[in-house]
């Protein structure tokens, strides 16, 4: 596989001064509790935890969107349907303790604390483009770990052809779940090779801080070459499965949201064009790139597949 932009560091790779000044504290956190997020970042403590990730050659050099944009404009129907609702309502989410059920075709199934799930994988910074199926996009400086590293620990067997994910179902804290807008809990899935692809990460932070609840705290998937809704938030279950799993939006409108949902400017959503997108903060729409610009890294996985049919 050809990986470009290998050795170029950008301003984004520079440790922010405040984080740098607190580097011992941070290292202490790493050694002590695995991760600050894992250790006990409750909703109230979330804003204060400084996180630092190793710069990655997979990061884009495009300027990231502001923290206000990334944390104030979200689709997270569990907290309401308007883009501003998650920022308003997600504060109620308890993210500690947080356990993840890992089951299906693997040698080490079980229910694990998030600290155990993430332990041993140093955080990386991944500045990725995110393209929403609705026709807008952002550039987001995620902090996370490659999903492959995380999954390998549970020793998936050869029967694991797909990986299925589930979001927390807790209507008491997720007001959006009190109405059946989608068939809760939110579900997503990837083919096994997509899940193991080095671009796929489990994110735990952004902009040097643990994830705000509205962005999918305490951990959420990020699959940058697929429409944003594939990147499931607040994950509580990971299953290694043999058959293609059901997914929330595909269940809701199968003719509009396919299982694959790779960003593809040539395959329109039945109700709107996918040829262009509005980068949040920009005025003019820009051309949407095949696989959201990650074609060099991921196109090989879909060779021979009819992407119009497998949308």
């Amino acid at each position: 596989m050809l990986i470009r932009h290998g050795d170029e560091l950008t301003e984004n790779d520079v440790t922010p001064r405040d984080v740098y000044l607190r580097r011992r504290e941070f290292m202490g956190g790493l050694i002590g509790g695995g991760l600050a997020v894992a250790g006990g970042a409750t909703a109230s403590a979330q804003a204060a935890t400084g996180l630092k990730g190793i710069a990655s050659p997979y990061s884009t050099k495009e300027p990231p969107n502001s923290r206000a944009e990334i944390t104030g404009y979200n689709n997270f129907y569990e907290f309401g349907l308007d883009k501003e609702d998650p920022a308003r309502n997600a504060g109620s989410l308890t993210t500690s303790p947080w356990t993840v059920k890992i089951d299906g075709h693997c040698n080490k199934p079980g229910t694990y604390d998030i600290g155990d799930v993430l332990r041993g994988n140093p955080l990386q910074q991944r500045i990725y483009r995110l393209r929403c199926v609705e026709g807008w996009s952002m550039v987001i400086p995620w902090l996370g770990v490659p999903l492959a590293d995380l999954l390998k620990k549970y020793e998936p067997t050869s029967k694991a052809k797909y990986v299925a994910f589930e979001t927390l179902h807790r209507p008491s804290e997720m007001p959006g779940q009190r109405r059946a807008v989608l068939d809760w809990p939110y579900r997503e899935g990837l083919r096994f090779d997509e899940a193991m692809h080095p671009l796929t990460i489990m994110a735990v932070g952004l902009y040097g801080e643990s994830l705000p609840a509205q962005n999918g705290a305490p951990m959420r998937l990020v699959v940058p070459w697929k429409y944003g809704f594939k990147s499931i938030k607040s994950v509580v279950r990971i299953s290694f499965v043999e058959k293609q799993p059901r997914t929330a939006w595909n269940d809701s409108a199968p003719q509009e949201y396919g299982f694959w949902s790779n960003v593809n400017p040539t395959v329109d959503h039945p109700r709107w064009s996918q040829a262009t997108e509005r980068r949040i903060g920009e005025f003019r729409r820009r051309e949407t790139l095949m696989f959201n610009g990650y074609g060099e890294q991921v196109a090989g996985m879909y060779r021979g597949m009819d992407l119009k049919k497998n949308f």
Partner: protein, 202 residues
Amino acid sequence: MDRKALDRVVYAVVWLACLAPLLWLAWRGFSNELGANPIDKLIRELGVWGLRLLIVGLAITPLARILKQPRLIRFRRTIGLFAFTYVLLHLTNYVVTDQWFDWAAIGKDILKRPFITVGMAAFVLLVPLAATSTNWALRRLGPVRWRRLHRLTYLIVPLGVIHYYMLVKADLQPPLIYGAIVAVLLGWRSWAWARKRRAAGA
């Protein structure tokens, strides 16, 4: 206060009420409070307000009859013209700020996207109504023809609701509520019409 002064006050209130959403949107726009995607927000808000005012306009006649307040009818033109203004701004925002005069993309949208086709049809049908809203046009057409022409609203408002219904991603509740209101308002008309016919026949 004499009747004329009162009329003027009531009229001013109606006018301001129609203008308020636009002023509120403009204010939020200038103070950067329309969120991270202000263009999208603006288009949606203008569209929803256009639909709301169209529905209010459709409610005037039944209300005037039921409440026996024929003078309410005076406000129909103002409300209708405001509705048209919101719809026009909604469309202008789509053409200018969203698509930036990309006529090829807009043309494709109109032909290929049923919700845009429906919305555009509703707009096109609204234009003659706005154009014939003056007293001069009413005299020119004569009341019978004028009224017949303006019955187009019975088609336009449902088209507006369908346009909204078709673009919604998952939550159908708001367009269904508007649809239910429109169904009641049009239902009342057909009921009143049938009753009148029966009375005439008897």
